[in-house]
């Protein structure tokens, strides 16, 4: 498997690499690895980064009717005990550093699920001054669960996909897609108003036709103050 993809180093692999030339070791190692991966997959403790509506749906997902506990998932309140961060809800610019910090405080191996449109892309707030257009602009996300908010069924499916991903990744079948946004990525996948990928002419036309409100071009891209200079990209944890 391509270990360089992973954010963490596995001492067991390092150790086994030294003795792998002995026959039988690799078989035992594969079995052990399978068991270990199985345990990771089936004990996904969740850190609910529940900020808004999706948080309520997350609560519903852990309620009696949908019962996340069935697949071994329990919510814990501190990031130190958790494996999966479920970002459920809108992340604002004010909140984003806190989310990043909590994500950093989670021990490896860890995964993130973006639950709902707001977490995936910022939803209709993505053009708003205070909302981060998708959490994958500042932290890695493994599974995207669509919906506004996603059904508890959808969240269960998302956890299922995550289990699948964990298994395939350790088995070496999973190749991390190259599309993971690099740190400091600023444009979401949707060309927004003001996105360089869109023609300014379309922006203007849309602003004129859709908003019916553009006194003195205040809402245009030109009206926005220039971006501050970009500091060098920091290492992503």
């Amino acid at each position: 498997m391509n270990e360089q993809d992973q954010a963490f180093r596995h001492p067991l692999y390092d150790m086994v690499e030294g003795v792998a030339r002995f026959p039988g070791v690799d078989v035992a190692f594969t079995t052990a690895d399978k068991v270990l991966t199985w345990s990771q997959r089936n004990s996904l403790w969740v850190f609910p980064m529940a900020t808004s509506c999706c948080g309520i749906e997350f609560m519903a997902a852990s309620s009696s009717r949908f019962d996340l506990d069935r697949i071994g998932t329990i919510p814990r309140a501190t990031p130190r005990h958790c494996d999966v961060m479920i970002i459920a809800g809108t992340i604002t610019v004010k909140m984003a550093p806190r989310v990043k910090k909590l994500w950093d405080q989670m021990p490896e191996p860890k995964w993130a699920i973006a639950m709902g449109s707001c977490a995936i892309s910022g939803d209709f707030y993505r053009d708003i001054y205070s909302v981060v257009p998708g959490v994958d602009t500042f932290m890695p996300v493994d599974v995207y669960v669509p919906g506004c908010p996603p059904n508890p069924d959808g969240l269960l499916e998302g956890l299922r996909r995550l289990q699948d991903k964990i298994r395939r990744k350790r088995a070496g079948e999973w190749v991390e897609p190259d599309r993971r946004p690099p740190p400091g990525m600023r444009a979401p996948s949707i060309p927004r108003i003001g996105d360089p990928a869109r023609s300014p002419r379309i922006d203007d036309a849309q602003l004129d036709s859709v908003m019916h409100l553009d006194p003195g071009g205040a809402l245009r891209r030109s009206g926005a103050p220039p971006l501050p200079p970009v500091p060098p990209a920091e290492e992503e944890g």
């Binding site: 980064m49 529940a50 900020t51 808004s52 509506c53 948080g55 309520i56 749906e57 609560m59 519903a60 309620s63 009696s64 009717r65 919510p75 309140a77 809800g89 809108t90 604002t92 004010k94 909140m95 806190r98 909590l102 209709f124 707030y125 053009d127 708003i128 001054y129 205070s130 909302v131 506004c148 908010p149 059904n151 859709v210 908003m211 019916h212 409100l213 006194p215 809402l219």
Partner: protein
């Protein structure tokens, strides 16, 4: 001449207490509770200055969920606003839809047809039950912990709430964030036989309310923890603009459904539960009583839903179809589960006949309730703070908007 508030009641804690003037011998701990904390109901952050375990000063910080809804509404048309404001009070989305549309309708001078009014009222009452179920459940969770009796009562509450969500899913097609109100009426009519199913659910829930009451509120431990905690003075509450169950638990008999009827509330006699204790327990008891009353109101109204159309305006085929007169401003409010949820609109000014509001302000009850925290927390312990936050039941989406 009325005395200033703080002279009237000198025993009140000072929300702007200068920590430099507090006992210099004490070793104060500044503890951040939130923005991510299991019992701050979202992303509320309260900075507590603790002396031992006693709170000396509590400073709430909000804005961690400020999504600029008011700015966003300035660029969207009136029709598009309804699904947007759904996300404000995400525990009772129906109320948001009604609150904005009530303001638009008032300014347009349009009255929804009676069937729509009845549907709105019924939905609102059922939504109120669902919202109070969450409120009671999370309050139990705050007191009993995620691994303990609190979780049990919380899950019982959610179990009943799911029945309500199924009802709504049947009408609107969504579990929440329905987008079913529109300017001048409703978007979805009731499916056949819905009233019978709704009644069955309401009967079931009102038959089970005693369970939460016995499990949680009659529990001596809960009484120990909630009685006499965070007593809200009615004058202070009114000056802060706090409304809804918090105000009614403090002995102010004020409910917009009865005192300024809107929707179909004029057609029905409403018993408003009022308690005079003003403490955390009283607020929970008021909520339980309101749940019962709401079930009764909804059942009664379900019998008399008139036939007829559900919209007063032509259904929206074009965005920007609804236009308000230039420069007009107005305010309309409804009684949401948390109190007075109002919308202040200034219609488009600069461009003639624009289909977007010029300024839209959502007067959210939770924002006012949060401003109670600095007054309530001092003098109580850290354990009480979670009970207090739970009992005022803030929804951060609505606080920050």
């Amino acid at each position: 001449m009325r005395m200033p508030l703080d002279l009237l009641l000198p025993s009140w804690p000072d929300p702007h207490l200068d920590l430099g003037e507090y006992d210099p011998e004490a070793d104060l701990v500044a503890l951040n509770m939130g923005p991510q904390h299991p019992s701050t109901h979202g992303v509320l952050r309260v900075k507590l200055y603790l002396d031992g375990e006693t709170v000396v000063k509590a400073v709430p910080y909000v804005g961690y969920l400020h999504r600029g809804v008011e700015k966003l509404c300035e660029k969207l048309t009136y029709v598009q606003i309804t699904p947007i404001v759904d996300k404000n009070d995400y525990v009772s989305p129906m109320m948001n839809e009604w609150a904005v549309n009530a303001a638009f309708e008032a300014l347009l001078g349009v009255e929804p047809p009676p069937r729509a009014q009845y549907m709105r009222t019924i939905f609102a009452e059922i939504q109120r039950i669902a919202s109070h179920l969450i409120s009671i459940g999370t309050w139990g969770l705050d007191m009993g912990g995620a691994i303990g009796g609190g979780a049990t009562v919380f899950l019982y509450c959610l179990r009943e709430r799911e029945l309500i969500l199924d009802l709504f899913e049947e009408v609107t097609g969504c579990r929440f964030h329905y987008n079913t109100h529109t300017v001048g009426g409703m978007r979805h009519d009731l499916p056949a036989g819905w009233d019978k199913r709704a009644k069955a659910v309401l009967d079931r829930i009102s038959a089970r309310t005693w369970e939460y009451e016995r499990f949680l509120l009659d529990n001596p431990i809960c009484r120990q923890r909630a009685e006499g905690i965070a007593v809200v003075d009615p004058t202070l509450a009114m000056e802060l603009g706090v409304s809804g169950p918090i105000l009614r638990a403090s002995g102010v008999d004020y409910d917009m459904r009865r005192d300024a009827p809107y929707g179909a509330y004029g057609d029905i006699d409403i018993q408003v539960p009022v308690r005079t204790e003003g403490d955390a327990l009283a607020r929970a008891l008021v909520r339980i009583a309101e749940m019962r009353e709401s079930a009764r109101i909804a059942s009664t109204l379900l019998d008399g839903v008139p036939e007829g159309p559900i919209g007063a305006l032509k259904p929206v085929k074009l965005h920007g179809a609804v236009k308000l007169k230039d420069g007009e401003e107005g305010y309309a409010a409804i009684e949401s589960p948390r109190g007075e949820l109002g919308t202040y609109v200034v219609a488009a000014r600069e461009r003639r006949g624009a289909a977007s509001p010029y300024r839209l302000k959502i007067r959210s009850p939770s924002y006012h309730a949060i401003s109670l925290l600095p007054w309530l927390c001092p003098g109580h312990t850290l354990s009480d703070v979670v009970v207090i936050i739970g009992s005022i039941d803030p929804i951060m989406g609505e606080v920050d908007r």
